[in-house]
């Protein structure tokens, strides 16, 4: 593990003695502490940081040459992997020209500081974001969403400082509200969490965020992040709520969670560490009421598990994000369901019997939690998986098909919202996208 303290303003290296994981398991052989005791002693007496005491180490420009442009492109990709800046998929080398093009989507100067990316502590500017977006194959009109997502990510309320390095494999989920979603070709319908050449913005923005997490934040597998599995991290999750299919009277996610006006462009960032489809539709001759209710039970029952994914956001975060297709939301709305009543139902019916918590050893985790609300929740039987129904996120998104809903299991101390600023040339950029990619 490296980089663990750089985000605190200290140099990225530190006096550490590291051991294979086996020594940290119950019943382990701890004799390596003795055989390597000199390393502890040296860490207290002789160790010196390789970095200077004060100052800023700027990232340089890199130059590759080859007989052909294809060879230079290949060499650049090899070099980026060798420097641990890649994800294994082809990268667009962030040349000055490419980065300047992306920066046409900026609303602040390129040197504007967005924050310090944990755990490594890399300084993140608008230009740093543009570099990552260029590498990820992005376009300038995506930059406002990326910069806002990075700003939200680096907000201490998001919990990113811990989640970047933790073993639980959290990935950021960015929900976009407002007209910008459709304008920049973010997907909100069929396949909205996957690849889509018709609506490619989510993949590029999410991949750029991941590259920032890794390249600037140092979250390299097994080095800067102990994420066991790292699922969904190639592109993270970036999608737009399907506002065109919101039932009458249902508020957008941005309005419900962050009190942001319905037509205002915004993002909302939470962390998740699981993603699963839930078979929602009935199979035979159910009435509309039965179909809706059975689907709700199936979703709540799926959430009623004693693995406590929502502990980190028990008070103020979220146990997860439930995605309902517009066709389902509208049917349920006609039956009287609202986002609030769905949340209430999920909260009530996902409660875990205390006996199930006890046999799974959950009380020990509740007892050591830093939150008083979590510690006191031990007394509740059945135990609610989150402190309040309001913590559930319900969004309308997904293809126009009624069979499935989707659950992004939360691992999120907070849910952070940001309104978006648009660059003066935004309409021009949209026109250029129309020219380059064809009509929306």
């Amino acid at each position: 593990m490296t980089n663990a303290v750089a985000g605190l303003g200290l140099a990225p290296d530190a006096a550490m003695v590291t051991f294979p994981i086996e020594m940290f398991l119950p019943g382990s052989d701890i004799s390596p502490v003795e055989t390597r005791k000199r390393e502890f002693y040296d860490g207290l007496t002789r160790w010196r940081s390789a970095f200077g005491a004060d100052g800023v180490a700027e990232a340089p420009m890199i130059r590759v040459e080859n007989a052909s442009m294809e060879g230079a492109f290949s060499r650049a990709n090899d070099l980026m992997l060798a420097n641990r800046w890649g994800d294994g998929l082809p990268l667009w080398p962030p040349t000055r020209e490419r980065v300047s093009w992306i920066l046409r989507g900026a609303t602040r100067p390129r040197g504007h500081r967005v924050g310090i990316f944990p755990p490594r502590g890399g300084v993140t500017t608008v230009e740093t974001c543009a570099i990552a977006l260029a590498m990820a194959g992005g376009r300038p009109e995506y930059l406002p969403v990326l910069v806002a997502a990075v700003d939200a990510f680096l907000d201490p309320a998001s919990g990113s400082a811990q989640l970047q390095a933790a073993s639980g494999s959290a990935f950021p989920v960015v929900i976009v509200n407002g007209p910008i979603g459709a304008q920049i070709r973010l997907n909100s319908g069929f396949g909205c969490l996957g690849p889509d050449p018709q609506r490619p913005a989510g993949a590029s923005i999410g991949r750029a965020l991941r590259l920032l997490q890794q390249n600037v934040g140092g979250a390299l597998p097994g080095i800067g992040t102990m994420a066991n599995y790292g699922g969904v991290r190639y592109t993270n999750v970036v999608f737009a709520e399907d506002e065109a299919n919101l039932p009458p009277g249902w508020a957008t996610h941005a309005t419900e969670r962050h009190a942001i006006a319905p037509d205002q462009n915004s993002i909302s960032l939470a962390f998740a560490n699981g993603a699963t489809n839930i078979r929602r539709r009935g199979a035979k001759k159910e009435t509309p009421e039965e179909d809706a209710l059975q689907g709700m039970y199936r979703m709540a029952d799926f959430m009623r598990v004693p693995n406590m994914p929502g502990l980190s956001g028990y008070e103020h975060g979220t146990p997860g994000i439930l995605m309902l297709p517009g066709v389902v939301a509208n049917t349920m709305a006609r039956l009287g369901w609202t986002k609030a009543s769905i949340r209430e139902f999920l909260w009530e019916h996902s409660r875990v019997p205390a006996e199930h918590l006890r046999r799974a050893g959950c009380p020990a985790w509740l007892e050591i939690d830093s939150s008083k609300v979590v510690r006191e929740s031990i007394a509740l039987d059945p135990w609610p998986i989150t402190a309040s129904p309001d913590n559930f996120i319900v969004v309308v998104a997904g293809g126009g098909h009624p069979t499935n809903s989707y659950w992004l299991q939360g691992y999120s101390p907070g849910v952070v919202g940001r309104t978006l600023e648009l660059p003066p040339a935004f309409d021009e950029l949209l026109g250029e996208a129309e020219r380059d990619l064809g009509p929306r």
């Binding site: 990225p12 007496t45 800046w85 890399g122 300084v123 570099i131």
Partner: protein, 97 residues
């Protein structure tokens, strides 16, 4: 010859404060542990305490519970203040995994 020049994507690194100076020797010094009480710290850190006490004359190693333990409290300003007030020359922090 084709040339590509591109940005290093890793961003600048700022070092705003130095690590604490090392002590010249551990003999005669006062040491403490700041433990998150995780990952077998209840076994590994006492072993280290015994080793330090055997290897350095006049050393005083405070017991594990001299400072608050647990992930929820060891990063707090209150714990840092307690460590400073204790007058220790150095601390060992553990265990992370």
């Amino acid at each position: 010859m084709a040339t590509l020049e591109f940005h290093d994507p890793s961003g600048a690194i700022e070092v705003k404060r130095p690590f604490a100076p090392r002590v010249p020797s551990l003999a005669g010094k006062r040491l403490g542990f700041v433990s998150n009480d995780q990952w077998q710290a209840y076994r590994t850190l006492p072993r280290l305490k015994s080793l330090l006490e055997a290897d350095y004359s006049g050393i005083e190693v405070l017991p594990l519970d001299a400072f608050p333990q647990g992930n929820a409290v060891i990063g707090s300003e209150e714990t840092a203040a307690q460590v400073k007030q204790s007058g220790v020359d150095a601390v060992i922090i553990g265990n992370a995994a």
